[in-house]
Amino acid sequence: MIVELGHYALVLALALSIAGAALPLCGALVGDRRLMAIASPVSIALFAFVAASFAALTHAYLVSDFSVRNVVENSHSMKPLIFKISGVWGNHEGSMLLWVLILALFGALVAAFGNNLPMRLKALVLAVQSMIGTAFLLFILTTSNPFLRLVPAPVEGNDLNPVLQDIGLAIHPPLLYLGYVGCSISFAFAIAALIDGRIDAAWARWVRPWTLTAWIFLTLGIAMGSYWAYYELGWGGWWFWDPVENASFMPWLAATALLHSAVVMEKRDALKVWTILLAILTFSLSLLGTFLVRSGVLTSVHAFATDPTRGIFILIILCLFIGGSFSLFALRAGTLAQGGLFAPISREGSLVLNNLLLTAACATVLVGTLYPLALEALTGEKISVGAPFFDMTFGPLMVPLLIAVPFGPFLAWKRGDLLAACQRLFAAFAAVLLTIGVGLVFAGPSKALTFFGIALAVWLLVGSLSEFAFRIKLFRAPLGESFRRARGLPRAAFGMTLAHGGLGLTVLGIIASTTWNTETITTMKPGESVTIGSRIVTLDGFLPVSGGTYSGTAARFTVREGGTTVATLAPEKRLYQVQNMPTTESAIHSFGLSQLYISLGDVKADGTTVVRIYFKVMILLIWLGAIVMALGGALSLSDRRLRVGAPKPARAGAAVAAE
């Protein structure tokens, strides 16, 4: 019964979303306030119904209702509770429902907290949200219905793909979807502005918090996915340039560009057309990502649950929304008035450079991801585009971008002074020279490239801190004065320092872990040891393990340093009985920011096993940097300037403050 209620709620949600799309749009076009006014309550009701539907499906999973096909295919009564819940979105139908749930959530948030938006703008934004909702609700109900029953009901389910039975599945998809789908809001704002034919700095101020929110979740979602792949897939890699990863990375690159161009628009009323285009592009890339992952057009390590027959439907949605929005853009972009003037060397100029490089980087990822598909479809030729290609094309675009990052905040709006910016970055220059000097003396010129990378990270870190230090007059004024200034700084300023510094940390982690990664591949018997740097790793023996729907063997390793035990690790080999699928569970121990990573090969009858031991120097910085970036975003989001409806700060000091 609850399942049918959930199903019914979803159908009602479709009806609501059709109403929510059509009526406020008509209202906005003919200027009928009553029609526009229904947008908010409909959006909130839409969320309530989708949430009820989602809750019904979750309930079916919790009670292991095996009369529901979706539960049979993806669950098992013995599965731990957390994986029963995360199993709801560990499959195609459920994940699409989560997608729509988050879409409806964002719509409801705009409806609830967008009180100060002009009525027409709000109605248009919510109408666009409802249009997207209509398309995807139709998709779920016609091709991917999670509420279908199965008669007769089997007594037991097929269990979830073992790779997905991990805490990563509980966190990664919801975070990523909050990011992906969150981009729909800036898209809706862009479409509304195009329909309205009016766009100004206030528009940018309204749109920025939503973009920032989506960006924070996208950052965390990608980082989480990367860490999950790192520990789950068992070969110590953390980014594979896999098409599915690219699908989430492209919206991130575009959203990062959008965040920066929206600053220019908000502060200087410039780059309007470009910002609108970026908002459309960002969500288009999210839709493209959804298409790539959900249609099964690529089968990759991530694409566990796909069905190619649904591809056409999503492709139609994709064409409608991307095609429609670009047509609207082509029609209306010319009517948008151009804004403030600026010189190439200026804050605006640096943000244009940021956008240029991020867009080019995004383009290379896009083309690299789609090119093999297109080439095969057109000529039948099969080529591979993998990590070496992206390293070669993406890397060179990132280097100038990273070099430019610390300059931007030191340049004034309209017309900047590059020489003065260089002078203020004196400490960063010194740190870079010191890093390269130390590298040349201690590691020799053969490692020059590595130290160039490290120097780049140092440049980012010291450069971002320099800007902060400059602004609070650190060491140039008494400490009390600096402290007072720091307290007076808008939170967005802290946010930028953190976000740019976090980027530096990530770069440092990437360079250090790739350069100083040590890898030992060997066969071991119980009692044998290998030396990893200053540590001795001993295989003590094997233990049987079992839990949920698997059983297997754990190997116990003891790590000693100078005679004392510093860690024990227990990597496992598991066999998931229901799906008859073996997996390896690597074991990881952190030493500070570095990690010791052990994964097991086959265990022979005499206890000999192949062992892979990695020592990854400073690898945690990769994800820590991303968390710091997201934290910076969150801090910036809490700035009162960005709070929807906050009055524009009039103080002159605040104008210098923003990114």
Partner: protein
């Protein structure tokens, strides 16, 4: 049938990943290093986005052993790659060759960058002309008159 095959291949690629085996490693560290760096450039043909260095599939192991044999026989890196391309087609290369059919792939980023640079320079140039040249002699006189009145 194709879907079943795809599912099976997917399963294979998900098998416990443990790539290079101890018995494959060459005694000569220089040669082994070359083998490893070559391995990261070659695709495990049945896996998705995995190099033969990362994959533990049987074919990846066979290829790893094969390239080590070719290296021992004195082949250069390029010769090893050419040998594999002859056998398995360009699909085996994770970094596509630069040729007519991949021109757009390689040119995409530079092209976007170029277009972007041209567009933004156009932006600055148009504005620079528009900004200062606007005042006529008549307007100059009026400006001076206004400024003089302020004093």
């Amino acid at each position: 049938m194709r879907r079943l095959l795809a599912a099976l291949l997917l399963m294979l690629s998900l098998l416990p990943a443990l790539a290079v085996q101890p018995d494959e490693v060459l005694p000569d560290p220089a040669l082994e290093a070359r083998a490893r760096s070559l391995s990261t450039e070659l695709r495990c043909l049945i896996c998705q986005s995995q190099s033969i260095d990362d994959s533990d599939a049987t074919i990846a192991r066979d290829l790893r052993i094969l390239i080590r044999e070719r290296l021992k026989a004195g082949d250069s890196d390029a010769e090893v790659k050419a040998f594999l391309v002859d056998r398995y087609g360009e699909y085996v290369l994770l970094r596509p060759t630069f040729a007519w059919h991949t021109l757009l792939l390689w040119a995409a980023a530079p092209l976007v960058l170029l277009i972007g640079v041209v567009l933004s320079f156009g932006l600055f140039r148009r504005r620079r002309i528009a900004e200062p040249a606007a005042l006529t002699a008549e307007e100059e006189r009026r400006v001076e008159a206004l400024l003089a009145r302020d004093d």
